[in-house]
Symmetry: C2
């Protein structure tokens, strides 16, 4: 067996372990009884250590070096080998006991967070979150040395391969220049119009679920290889052939859960449409979190909140819940689904104010990882950011720095990918509509296939064959910049009916 | 670190992997979408291989030998070391690729069985079941050489450590002599009495579930560390701190699901009450499957089908479903719950005819493993057994040899433990009632604690400290024999009101 073939076998085994971890993580968030938390932490930590040990096996360095000289590799195998090397570099930079300690600290901190968040008790979270941050900084230091970058970039690289803060600072700088004035204009315009008509509930959870399932199916989600369930913090997870997304329902308002489901469906389509022939290999994986988020936002923001799609969806929603009257007209639903209102909670934020939440988090986590700030100062700094960017006064950490699972969960360097994803989504959607005249008319009749086919061809099926910037340039004809996104926002929020 | 301490760390890691496998297995049976089956098979196979590799690591032989000479071990550590050696012996007898091939074959066969069973199509199952049997025989051969026993005993030993067919043949021989005449007497007696009054449904699934949960709580099940869900074939699984049991509901008949739930609760109590200080180590584990089954049958058969308990439970059941009339009297429910009627399906069988189902399966799997019979002859031989022992003519394999998941699932040598467990249960229950006068009065007021406390002290908390026969002798004052069981059956079915 060639060195490359040996590596393929090892990475297939790694993929199976990671799939097992994906299902266990899903179970932790959806079904696990509380008293099982410590045991589950042991299971997750143990599997992560085993995965780490397989990836950092002494033989792998030689196998990677030998495989470089086996010159019979196809194009995708070359790319696969490149991704193997990347994974190996990330893994070998960090000692096994540090990986295990971090995994345990994260499991503990997530459980504390589940109590601290509803109680608004940052002091309760501080010790375990400090432990997580401390271990993240150790991991970052180890990786930064191997990758030759800053601590923060070393963490970012796990989510956004090749991502760098100069680039993000530039794009976010453009946004920061654009947003405050734009938000003001949008709020002015919305204030000048008649009130949006409210939808009268209650909206039974079973009906919401059925509507969500119907829309997921319309978008092409394969329920033979996936599920829809409930968790506190919605996510898309599971395993390669078993993509599981979650939502949370509110009987008084179906609109958020429905768009939440479509958001996660966008992630799920990326996962379900990964290149079938390469599954189990690193090259089959999604090309970074900005592109992943772009797929959720293309479905949620670009497609489902468009006036075109809501012309189709409005009567479906009305009939599902037995609604009557002009509140259920597409025009009113579109205004409801594009309403802009600065608020405390990121996951409830509208398309326009969402980037402000990210700018705050990005600055804070950069500072915390760099050591320019201590964790005890987080609530104050958070609240200052909310005041400066959105004009809001945070009175409880429940609505402030306790709201997200990311930091307790060890996902430091993840936040910027949300807004990079929004910018990418606008650019990809624009390219899709230019490439295929049927994309918008399709959405207007509830047919996602022209859009999703274009995405499958240009993004999903490409796995990690190319670096993210090359993939985007190939698909859209230009590298990432904020202009198409800003044009999209101006058109939807200042020009559309 | 001493050799023994090193072994403890390794076995703790093994326990975490096995817990992960337990949750994944549970998920496979309850929630997994069908298209995820191949991927799940990969996950299970990979984790089993990793577990096998850890257990068969080259160092372990030396560590076990060195630990034997470390003479500072406590009593439980000595027993733990003994169990480690036993696990090592089982694992090293079988090559890793055989373990992996078997795991894959089982996953495939279980999926085929899910189609073949409802279709009654043995031919559909035959190829994949042959593959499973073939690999089981290879595993048996490898183990038999290491253990110095027959092929069948080598498989049995995984479920019933030290179990031997001479012993089982003797006990089952007594039963075979006792049963047919006894069944005849019971059927005669039941025929001579007025009809049992039927319970009028439908019985909503949510109400059945709530009643099951209430009874589980009464028996001491800890929902903080466990769950109740639905699967085709009820089981008790999950992980050390996360004991998950399943049932299946029938809207026309709540009585089976309720007793099924109490049966699995008996298993669950054994798992939830394992010795807390030794968890993660082999000595903490339940002492074989006959004792495990004895715990389910003590709760279901000895306790919950007793007249004493039904005096308490009858009004609870009646009030749950809003029932009225004499059908809901304890006397009628007791007759219903002790009704004897030869039938095709093992899991639906009553206490009296159940052992006949086991005698058939025991003979057949012994012959198949020994090579004295081929799999193509299984349906015919099965049907012959049903005719001879229960006087029934099997007309579809759906009601015959396709009914159980055990053989497709690779659990060969497991069946005898059901009836050994029934015999053990009678002996333990008899001892508990003699040791504590409150056991029966407790059940009559829905209080399981005197019974369960005795079981916790004498069985659950003992883990694998002693061999099964010594544990039973210590708890009951005598080794296993069928006499108490037969006395229990005679009393309940020929003497009680």
């Amino acid at each position: 067996m060639s060195a490359y073939q040996t590596l393929e076998r090892r990475f297939a085994r790694l993929a199976a372990i990671n799939d097992a971890l994906g299902i266990l993580h899903w179970d932790t968030e959806t079904l696990m009884p509380p008293g099982a938390a410590d045991g589950r932490a042991e299971q997750l930590a143990t599997l992560k250590v085993l995965s780490h040990e397989l990836l950092t096996d002494d033989d792998n360095a030689d196998l990677l070096a030998d495989a470089e000289h086996e010159r019979e590799l196809s194009n995708w195998q070359e790319a696969n080998l490149h991704e193997m090397r990347r994974a190996y570099l990330h893994a070998t930079a960090v000692p096994g006991d540090l990986v295990e300690a971090s995994s345990r600290a994260i499991s503990r901190c997530e459980m504390v967070w589940r109590e601290a968040r509803p109680a608004g008790d940052f002091a309760m979270l501080l010790p375990s979150l400090s432990e997580v941050l401390n271990l993240q900084r150790q991991i970052a230091a180890a990786k930064a040395e191997a990758l030759g970058c800053s601590l923060y970039e070393a963490l970012l690289d796990s989510y956004e391969p090749g991502g760098n803060t100069d680039h993000i600072d530039k794009v976010f700088g453009d946004l920061r220049a654009f947003l405050p004035g734009f938000i003001g204009e949008v709020l002015e315009r919305q204030k000048s119009r008649p009130d949006i008509l409210p939808l009268q509930g209650p909206f039974p959870i079973e009906t919401q679920r059925a509507l969500g399932v119907r829309m997921m199916q319309a978008a092409g989600f394969d329920f033979n290889k996936g599920r829809l369930d409930i968790s506190l913090h919605p996510f898309c997870g599971g395993a390669t052939h078993d993509v599981r997304l979650t939502t949370r329902y509110d009987e008084d308002d179906f609109t958020k859960a429905l768009m939440g489901v479509m958001h996660e469906t966008g992630h799920a389509l990326y996962e379900q449409n990964r290149p079938a022939d390469w599954l189990g290999q690193p090259v089959s994986e999604a090309r970074g979190m900005s592109l992943h988020e772009s797929q959720s936002l293309i479905i949620e923001m670009q497609a489902c909140r468009s006036r075109a799609f809501l012309e189709f969806a409005a009567p479906v929603m009305r009939d599902s819940f037995g609604g009557t009257g002009p509140a259920w007209d597409a025009a009113n639903l579109h205004r409801l689904y594009t309403k802009v209102e600065p608020g405390f909670i990121r996951v409830d934020a509208d398309e326009v104010t969402y980037p402000a939440h990210i700018l705050i988090r990005y600055d804070l986590e950069k500072a915390l990882i760099a050591g320019d700030m201590i964790l005890a100062d987080l609530p104050g700094a958070w609240n200052e950011g909310m005041r400066d960017l959105l004009g809001l006064k945070v009175t409880t950490d429940r609505l402030g720095c306790l709201q997200d699972i990311h930091w307790p969960g060890g996902a430091w360097g993840y936040f910027p990918t949300y807004t990079l994803g929004a910018i990418t989504a606008a650019q990809l959607f624009d390219a899709a509509t230019r490439a295929d005249d049927n994309v918008l008319p399709g959405l207007a009749r509830g047919d996602f296939s022209p859009l999703v086919n274009w995405l499958r061809t240009n993004i999903h099926s490409q796995g990690s064959l190319l670096p993210a910037d090359q993939l985007l340039t190939k698909a859209t004809g230009r590298p990432l910049d904020a202009s198409v996104y800003e044009r999209h926002l101006r058109r939807r929020y200042l020009e559309e009916a």
